[in-house]
């Protein structure tokens, strides 16, 4: 047992075969402690989403080693077979698009995973309502998604990612659809959750105003990654 939540060693990803293959991730190493928040930066097409989907066990790497929450899940092949269960129990996702289920209402979207994980109705309902309250959309709990604005939908998506008490949260521009005030509110919430519940977070964002909320900056460029502590980063 150690306090490393995400450990990535020489991780590579190649698309295609033979001469036409393209190596998008060219050997990445980094680690992220429990409770730490990492800001993932990089130009468009640099491999940010590819890296995020590999850590989220959605995309299989070509080679390398990856451990999540003290468990080796990939070592040149999947070691952990049930990656769906891993995602359900340990990983929360927040994406640019809210990616909610349109035929479920707000509360049902949020409580779907806790229900699958066997959490009692009283507990998951209370937690969902508390989180909705915190993000200012408690009154929308029984609304269908069609009646929500883009910003409200994104806040629901954030609540859903927190509802299963994840050990790792992977977020792809989670505040892109929110105003400055809500963005700061969300970052404070994520920071609080990261610290209180020892959750490691990787957040893709281009909003450098949010830099103070992160512990580490991961900069990816042309398939290579550099890891810097936030206090060492110079904002340009």
């Amino acid at each position: 047992m150690n306090d490393i939540s995400i450990k990535v060693e020489n991780l590579k990803k190649k698309f295609g075969k033979g001469e036409n293959s393209i190596e998008v991730i060219k050997g990445i190493d980094f680690d992220l402690k429990k409770g730490e928040m990492a800001m993932l930066l990089g130009p468009s097409g640099s491999g940010k989403t590819t890296l995020l989907t590999m850590i989220g066990c959605i995309l299989e790497p070509t080679s390398g080693k990856m451990s999540l929450d003290d468990e080796v899940i990939y070592d040149n092949r999947w070691i952990l077979k049930d990656t769906i269960k891993l995602r359900r129990e340990k990983i929360g996702f927040i994406f640019q698009s809210h990616n909610l289920i349109p035929f479920l209402n707000v509360k049902e979207n949020i409580t779907l995973l806790p229900q699958m994980n066997g959490v009692s109705k009283a507990d998951y309902t209370k937690k969902a309502m508390d989180l909705l309250e915190y993000l200012g959309i408690r009154d929308k709990a029984y609304n269908m998604l069609g009646s929500l604005s883009g910003g409200q939908s994104q806040r629901v998506a954030i609540v859903r990612s927190l509802a299963n008490d994840p050990k790792i949260i992977l977020a792809d521009e989670p505040t892109a659809a929110l105003d400055k005030e809500r963005s700061i509110s969300v970052m404070r919430l994520l920071k609080k959750i990261a610290k209180d519940q020892n959750v490691a977070m990787i957040v893709v964002t281009h909003d450098e105003r949010l830099l103070p909320y992160f512990d580490i900056v991961l900069r990816i460029d042309d398939g290579y990654l550099t890891q810097t502590k936030t206090e060492d980063v110079k904002v340009i």
Binding site: T49, T53, G56, I58, L59, I84, K85, L86, R87, R88, E89, I91, F93, F95, Q96, S97, N99, L100, I101, P102, F103, L104, E108, T111, L112, L113, Q115, M116, M144, R160, N164, D172
Partner: protein, 378 residues
Amino acid sequence: MINLASKDISHSLGKFIVTAIGVGMLLGIVLIMIGVYRGMIVDAKSLLNDINADIWVVQQDTLGPFAQSSRLYEDLKHQIISIEGVTETAALTFQTLQIRKDKKMIRTTAIGYEIGKMGRPARIIKGREILKDHYEIVTDAKLGFDINDKIRLGRDIYTVVGITKGAIFNNGEPLVFLNLKDQQKLQFLFSNETIRNDRARGINVTNSNIVNAIVAKVTKGYDIKKITEYIKRWKHKSAYTNDEEIVILTKNLIEMSSKQIGLFTIILIIVSSVIISLIIYTMTIGKIKEIAILKLIGIPNFIIVKMIMQESLVLGILAFIAGNIFAHLIWNKFPKNTVLLPIDALMLFGIVVLVSVLGSLSGVYRATKANPAEAIGE
């Protein structure tokens, strides 16, 4: 645990119900087709059941009187009644007629029977049986005549004295009933000009005491089969038990039609199956992004498979209910007898359930192959 299928259905309820009604109409046609087939069997047996004879005696080496032409002398009935165990005999004639009703010609079959004997009209709903020797007729309600209406048949005019309900020949056509003497005259007696012409040629054919079949009733306790065999040997006639006559009617007369309807029904069931499969597949493709999201956040495949299968089953069951309602709304609009039986509906229900499960497999396959990464990005 949230039931995803019910949530998805209620989210697009109108579209789902309209789809189910569409498929249901197709299933309704399947039920009607089965009903038409059942109706043919019922029609084929209807007259036999009404006459309720034990033995049918017809011309030697024929399958008469329904499957083949058959001619016998009427007096054969006196020889048959003398056989031990035979309690009643009756002579019957059958003839296809075109009769005029207002300005329309209607096709019908006339039965000539002896007053008070086997072959007399069953289920008279208005008027009475034939009581006079000549020029009275009983018609089925489907022909549209009323009591005291006049009908010209051959050289004579007949008065309608009774109306029956559901009196049909084996091909489903409504029946008319005539006194045997009248019917024999109508069927076997030539016109005066023909008789004179035949006489000049040395032919004398004025005997109209010919019938198409003699039917017999056997006393309880006597072996109908043995008496039938005895008639075959002793009288040199063809004789059939009522059960054999039913087989002749259902196998020989309507076999081709029933095969055609059976094949058409099978094709309709296959078409319905393909349509249900396509609908389920299209419904699955329509929410492939949602399925990808569910997989992305960690919902196991079996929950997604369950959702697709439940939706497919609900669609099938709703379509089956709609099909039943549709079939029961239109079944009596068909000119031929259509018989809807619960056992056929039950059989179709089984097929629909099976088809819904099998039909959902293509959707299930597509869903299990859905890549969670499809949910990421626009």
